[in-house]
């Protein structure tokens, strides 16, 4: 970068709108092209969506949501589904936090003299885990683990391991090196250096990342069932498929309430930890 100066010094005219050397101009042009090409290539059915007919069917559809089905048997069923979803997200996140930490150690250069042979391959693995969404993992795992919440839990765990592993590795690398160096200079082994110097320093941050992912995972767990992986999503897909809109409304309400609850809890916990 050149030395700092005013964006537009007073003795200069404003720059021309387009200049072949102006990166931002090319970038904006490319962006506009991308957007136009996207809309043009998708044959979106606006006519159908914006027609009176669609509006009417949308209105009817939303009208069928009321009244929500609040019969005790169904509410009990939804409660079980919600508990299953909550358990999936919690266990998936916990497993992912453990696995993420285990993978973050080889994926980070812990001190200056660390050769860190495993750094590049482990990061590649973490990226691969991370870039496949939970739902795709769930669909893949259904083959090995069968229908049900177990596949969903594993799917959440796999994707979240990728995310958390990368975040954990970054915080391990960014932790202040002083305490670890002091112990290492005394001849303390790597495990104890990690446990007594590095981990205590980064633990609040790791916990905060984990809580944040838990918030995301409760959302994901709620919909994983759509491919058959248990929880509220499975109920949702089932009753929506049968056009039982009252029941669908109850399930959606439960989903929103649960997400809001977890959000509130996690927000409070993170505030309390970083205080």
């Amino acid at each position: 970068m050149n030395k700092p100066s005013a964006a537009n010094p007073p003795y200069k005219l404003p720059p021309p709108l387009f200049d072949a050397r102006c990166k931002a101009c090319w970038f904006s042009a490319a962006l506009a092209l991308l957007v136009v090409a996207s809309f043009w290539s998708l044959d979106l059915q606006w006519a159908q969506f914006l027609s009176l007919d669609a509006a009417r069917s949308m209105g009817r559809f939303l009208g069928e949501f009321f009244p929500p089905d609040l019969s005790p048997t169904f509410v009990a069923k939804v409660t079980v589904g919600a508990w299953e979803t909550l358990a999936m997200s919690l266990l998936g996140t916990l497993v992912a936090a453990a696995a993420g930490l285990a993978l973050a150690l080889p994926a980070s250069r812990l001190h200056a003299a660390d050769a860190a042979w495993g750094r590049a391959p482990t990061r590649l693995l973490l990226n691969a885990l991370r870039s496949i969404p939970e739902l795709v993992w769930a669909a893949l795992l259904l083959i090995a683990a069968g229908l049900g919440p177990f596949a969903g839990t594993l799917a959440l765990a796999l994707h979240t391991t990728g995310v958390l592993g990368r975040l954990f590795a970054e915080s391990l690398e960014n932790a202040p090196a002083g305490p670890g160096d002091a112990l290492r200079a005394q001849g303390v082994g790597p495990l104890r250096v990690f446990l007594y110097a590095t981990l205590p320093q980064v633990l609040p941050q790791l916990l905060s990342y984990t809580l944040y992912r838990w918030e995301n995972n409760i959302r994901a767990a709620a919909v994983l069932g759509v491919v058959g992986a248990g929880g509220l999503g499975q109920l949702l897909a089932f009753h929506m498929g049968l056009f039982q809109m009252g029941k669908t409304a109850t399930i959606l309400g439960a989903m929103l309430a649960m997400v809001a609850l977890v959000d509130g809890f996690s927000y409070g916990a993170r505030r309390w930890m970083t205080r």
């Binding site: 044959d43 159908q48 870039s131 683990a145 759509v226």
Partner: protein, 282 residues
């Protein structure tokens, strides 16, 4: 400190971790609490190792190789990949259309009545209402929106674009509001105090101070939208996800593996682009 006090016998360092008892207790307590979770999720990892399941998984994973690389299939994958990107891009564009007006309506910094102390009641409730609308939009998962829209407009990319537009509109609107309110607001306030309109104060005060952060968040969300547009394919919104679902149902391991690789590459590319852009924005 005198030399003598330094010579006083130091207490022997503890031979083992002085906090071992609490650590042990909390670890075992956590394990006990985990038990109901494991029951609820039917968490039985050994199921994976049962001979029957193991055989099916081995067969499926074995069929990943060789990758499906014939020309026709690759052309299909390329078309669907573009479609995935296009759904994400169109969705984010519409989401911007949802988020920008709602952000302008909900930003507290742009309140004129708040300049003299408390915000008046009507604008306060308007802003609060818009906030709640944004929260509702973003807390319904995009997959649920897609399921709803598939019922209304039928299978196809329209449902996916609309689902992304609504969910991401909510997310963008909420975070834009937070960014605008957390930044330096002095310039905006000065403009408002000197008689600028709200839109002028936004365009010349609030926007320039926060433009980099707003853009970088939008780019990050575009990257996320690519991931969700694949997921939306699973409920029939078209794109890579739908093909992946089809191939998986037909146990075409080679096709699944090719598409997963393409998908990983696509996400990595979006990741790289987004990181580069955010760095360029500073």
């Amino acid at each position: 400190m005198s030399a003598t006090s330094g010579l006083r016998l130091a207490p022997r360092p503890p031979a083992r971790d002085p906090a071992w008892l609490p650590r042990l207790f909390w670890t075992s307590a956590a394990l006990v609490l985990l038990w109901p979770l494991a029951v609820a999720t039917e968490f039985r990892p050994w199921v994976l190792l049962e001979p029957g399941n193991l055989k099916i998984s081995a067969q499926f994973i074995g069929s990943f190789w060789p990758l499906a690389l014939d020309g026709e299939f690759l052309a299909l994958v390329a078309r669907e990949t573009w479609r995935t990107v296009a759904i994400a891009t169109a969705g984010i564009t519409l989401a911007l259309g949802v988020a920008m007006p709602l952000t302008l309506l909900s930003t507290r910094v742009l309140s004129i009545s708040a300049l003299s102390g408390r915000m008046a009641r009507a604008p306060f409730w308007l802003r609060q209402g818009v906030r709640w609308l944004l929260i509702v939009l973003r807390s319904v998962p995009e997959l649920v929106w897609a399921l709803v829209f598939v019922r209304v407009v039928g299978l196809g990319p329209t449902a996916g674009v609309l689902a992304i537009a609504l969910t991401y509109g909510g997310m963008l609107g909420k975070v834009y509001g937070e960014i605008l309110e957390s930044g330096e607001t002095q310039a905006t306030e000065t403009l408002l105090r000197n008689g600028a309109g709200r839109l002028q104060a936004f365009a010349y005060g609030l926007l320039p101070t926060n433009a980099a952060e707003l853009t970088s968040y939008t780019v990050y969300r575009w990257e996320c939208a690519i991931r969700s547009s694949v997921v939306l394919g699973f409920v029939g919104a078209g794109g890579l996800g739908q093909q992946l679902d089809n191939s998986m149902k037909m146990f075409e391991g080679g096709e699944v593996a090719t598409m997963l690789l393409v998908f990983i590459a696509l996400v990595a590319l979006a990741d790289r682009t987004s990181a580069w852009l955010r760095k360029a924005l500073g």
